[in-house]
């Protein structure tokens, strides 16, 4: 009779914990420019290797190299830098505002600015994003007024969504930004539905779904891939792998799969991994995937390999679960510095101009904040009326809510 050793449960662990020396040796970084750019109508089964590689454009010397380079003009690159720096300045001010008690909560993008800022540039007016809470770059790069974002963060009298949502859960139909939920993963399958609707109506608009590495474990992710694959929906499905889901390292959600992108292979989807800290690479891949969707070639799954430099939110302290200096060791660098260096290398930019722009941007953010604060902050000044609390649950207020509003005396 065969003897078996007792079974034991495998619980994955990150390589390092607080006090350890950061180690990203497991993250294999291909040389920039080494991954070929296939035609958009490529048969997904011919590019299965892209799910295990990383598409990169900017090399260590700040040069844009390879097939994926050249999707942006000089002016667009400079504007991209401005968007990322604006998002960073915005984050800095709002983090401070949260510490000052002007709002209850905030979530920053530090290290991930390129993902949403560059993606936004690949979309057209009328397209729709179904974002998570860490894609405010879609709004910044899309020209949504910072004041309105701040009004939402402060839940003040000018909050476009009337104080009904946690800070950073923006919504703007006009700017192609679907209402953020906070229940993770739900929007991923909704993006597929929106895209299916566009196809049903013989439209040419496309959708983009967003999800984090941790939330890919939700059933919504699986359902999204099933529906996207079955109906060949015109949608780009974006996984932002920033290595951490609050305190849980990405290996817990990823399991035995080599990469998150590889999850798309079983669905017959083209699955690409891209350097999420490389503005040029993100844009090139986004453009490729958007083009596929718009030409009716179907969905694309994209994994952005990046790193969450800051805490998950203002309610989180990463020093409790990862080495403090881990972000310094992240091998893909900082997206702002990398684009800046590229522009300097090409003679389009300088340290001085960079500093000058940084100051200009901060002035703009400060001015916006002043304007927003005139409408109040969470605990002082103007706030949405209590009447607003009862409005908008339905198109028309039903009798029971009317009675409750009366009881509340508003």
């Amino acid at each position: 009779m065969m003897e078996y050793a007792p079974l034991s449960l495998h619980v994955p662990e990150p390589e390092v914990r607080p006090g350890d020396t950061p180690d990203f040796s497991r993250v294999v970084i291909p040389r920039a420019g080494s991954v070929a750019r296939p035609p958009v109508d490529v048969d997904p089964k011919d590019i299965r290797d892209l799910a295990y590689s990383i598409i990169r454009v900017l090399n260590r010397d700040g040069e844009a190299v390879g097939d994926w380079a050249g999707t942006l003009t000089d002016d667009e690159l400079k504007e991209g830098l401005r968007h990322m720096m604006t998002l960073r300045a915005f984050d800095a001010r709002m983090l401070t505002a949260q510490r000052q008690g002007k709002t209850s909560f905030y979530m920053q993008h530090m290290g991930e600015e390129a993902v949403s800022c560059a993606f936004r540039r690949a979309m057209e007016p009328g397209d729709m994003n179904f974002p998570t809470y860490r894609q405010a770059g879609l709004l910044i790069a899309g020209g949504y007024p910072m004041v309105d974002m701040m009004n939402q963060i402060f839940s003040n009298e000018a909050d476009p969504i009337k104080g009904r949502q946690l800070p950073v859960m923006y919504a703007s139909k006009e700017h192609g930004f679907f209402s953020i939920s906070g229940n993770l993963g739900t929007q991923f399958v909704q993006a597929v539905g929106w895209a299916m609707a566009s196809a049903i109506r013989n439209d040419t608009r496309i959708a983009a779904g967003w999800i984090g590495d941790g939330s890919t474990a939700e059933s919504d992710f699986h359902a999204a891939l099933v529906f996207a694959s079955t109906y060949r929906a015109p949608v780009v499905l974006n996984i932002v792998n920033n290595q951490w889901a609050i305190s849980t390292y990405q290996g817990i959600a990823r399991g035995g799969s080599g990469t998150f992108a590889a999850r798309g292979l079983g669905f017959g989807l083209p699955a690409l991994r891209v350097d999420g800290n490389d503005y040029l690479a993100v844009h090139a891949v986004a453009k490729w995937a958007v083009e596929r969707a718009r030409r009716g070639l179907g969905p694309t799954l994209v994994e952005y390999v990046t790193y969450r430099v800051g805490a998950h939110s203002t309610s989180d302290d990463p020093s409790a679960y990862r080495p403090k200096t881990e972000s310094d060791a992240w091998p893909l660098g900082d997206p702002v510095i990398r684009l800046r260096n590229h522009l300097i290398k090409r003679g389009l930019w300088s340290e001085d101009r960079h500093k000058q722009m940084e100051a200009e941007i901060m002035d703009g953010v400060v001015a916006a904040q002043k304007e927003a604060e005139r409408h109040g902050t969470l605990h002082s000044g103007g706030k949405p009326s209590v009447r607003d609390m009862f409005e908008g649950v339905y198109a028309e207020m039903p009798p029971h809510l009317r009675r409750q509003r009366q009881k509340a005396g508003v």
């Binding site: 229940n183 399958v189 597929v192 359902a223 099933v226 529906f227």
Partner: protein, 337 residues
Amino acid sequence: MPRMTMIEAIRSAMDVSMGRDETVVVFGEDVGYFGGVFRCTAGLQQKYGKSRCFDAPISELGIVGTAIGMAAYGLKPCVEVQFADYVYPAYDQIVSEAARIRYRSNGQFTCPIVIRMPTGGGIFGGQTHSQSPEALFTHVSGLKVVVPSNPRDAKGLLIAAIEDPDPVIFLEPKRLYNGPFDGHHDRPVTPWSKHEFGEVPEDHFTVPLGKAEIRREGAAVTVLAYGTMVYVAQAAAEDTGIDAEVIDLRTLLPLDLDAIVKSVKKTGRCVVVHEATLTSGFGAELAALVQEHCFYHLETPIQRVTGWDTPYPHAQEWDYFPGPRRVGEALVAAMEG
């Protein structure tokens, strides 16, 4: 006027809606080519094409989640969940998403979807084809919850639901699909073709959401019922000879409180009946509302007759089902106090 079963009436509602409004789309498991396991969508794919009526993967989450996205785009999806018992994988999408999108986006995005699902027991469906989960939806702000009890209402209410700007949970009592089942399971059921409510207008008409209807006028006691229990309550009134007033609520959310209060103030007695389990059931809400609004008119305590607080059994179906005998006992108790 044509006569229809409840299935045909529901199909006709979707047909009429799809014909009038090309943003109405219908999908779900087995819904397209085959026309649904209960045949509610038969012929719609042939008539309106595969992009407006199609089969979905077995993923209630996916069906409702994509419907929400379609609604955000501007379509009016009317989706089928094959049995109400299967809706739970979609619960997060319904509760956290569909119900709140209007509110949380301040009306920038809305969710005009209808989620149809066969509900209730009486067909030996066991615990996974018999549940009545309406209270799980009436507890959610932002939803509307409809339970029709006959073909005419089913069509008018479903068209109203499809045209409604907000998400509607549309529960179809499957035991009523072919006839007005009164709980006397040992007797043959009259088919809808021989019932006055089997007469259904062919064209477009609506029955407004939020309006109850008196099914049996009476002076002795008010029975609040919906779906299959409307007929069980009427049977109990006939069996006991108690002059009960049976109110068919039709829409649970928003509720026609005025109709309830008016009747209870007249009769001074109230029995609440539903197939769903007792504890925290919709009957609890009804009983609370009646005592809040009619306390000084009540002659006797409010009675509740419901399914037992067990999973829906298979062999013991008729011991579980709150049939005319149990409702009759409650009528007697309400009369005696």
